[in-house]
Symmetry: C2
Subunit: 198 residues, 2 copies
């Protein structure tokens, strides 16, 4: 039986964590990106299909390639962030299933033209779950996140996922957020506005 | 600056947490579902759009309505689970934006026939992020999860989201898992198989 986590963990993951727009001048070690991956990859996906692929944009050269694909309002903060993750989904994720889901050969559930729609939906749903796991794993490790979904997808995909097999999902700045640059928090829906117990 | 969480938190959220197929005979209080919601709703969504809607299937009557929509292999475990969440996405999420995103009237970004595709993608992406936040919030509160995406969507939507505005995304059993009913853990991708630092 697992005990609930501490109040400070609830704060770090959800209650005090914020989407950051300003970044402290403090680098993010590659080892910390590896640790974040090693946590996030354990989260559940359908048939363990694990479709998420990530490019961590860190060098000035890679940042310069990303810049023209960003909306004007996202440029300065993204250039200032120590790392910008491009979360993508591998449309051929099912090629890995013999290793990831060894109980049976599940490739036939997703491959072939008549399965294209279910494969695309599965990649999008499960890659997005993994991106959420990644952001919460980053917060668990003391990092802050700044996700963004407004950008030129075609340009980012051409630049960072050439070949067309992986499609970008959204972007996420990663680093140590500047608390002084935060906006006031927006309201959330109450339980009874979004949920029903039947 | 946030400190990293404790090793036991990493275990509860990611490393030792498992997708459960067997459930202990221990109920889940409604208050705990409310607490889970109050954590999960704080996770980031695009323009704070918060499209997820949830039906918690808990009563024997509601379980009986869900049963015929389940795949054979998911029936017994779902009937045994204290609660089954139906995670859905509200296709008209943007009607709430004047309250959720008070800085500007963002409804025009998503409403109208020429915005139908971006609205559908936004609902799916952000509702799926919220479902991941919900599962990790549940784990943070000591609960276990058993997500499932194979079921008759049309039937579930007709039964639990009448009117067509909300579309179900996936199902998730919630309770206290029976460790003795677990399968061995499946492998995950290594960092270098899924990630690049550029």
């Amino acid at each position: 039986m697992t005990e609930p986590l501490s109040p400070s963990a609830f704060n770090a993951l959800f209650l005090q964590a914020r989407t950051h727009n300003g970044w402290l001048d403090r680098p993010v070690d590659d080892a910390l990106l590896h640790r974040t991956w090693d946590l996030a990859r354990m989260g559940p996906t359908s048939a363990n299909c694990s479709p998420m692929r990530v490019v961590f944009v860190k060098s000035p050269e890679a940042k310069a390639r990303l810049l023209p694909a960003l909306m004007e309002g996202n440029r300065a903060k993204t250039m200032a962030a120590p790392v910008t993750a491009i979360f993508g989904n591998d449309s051929r994720f099912y090629d890995m299933l013999p290793r990831l889901f060894p109980h049976t050969d599940a490739r036939a559930w997703f491959s072939g033209p008549e399965k294209a729609e279910i494969a695309a939906t599965t990649a999008f749903r499960n890659g997005t779950l993994q991106a959420a796991y990644f952001m919460l794993a980053a917060r668990a490790l003391g990092l802050d996140c700044g996700p963004m979904s407004g950008y030129d997808n075609v340009r980012v995909d051409r630049e960072f996922f050439p070949g067309g097999q992986v499609k970008s999902n959204f972007l996420c700045n990663i680093g140590y957020g500047d608390q002084s640059a935060l906006f006031p928090r927006s309201p959330r829906l109450e339980f009874q506005e979004a949920c029903v117990i039947a």
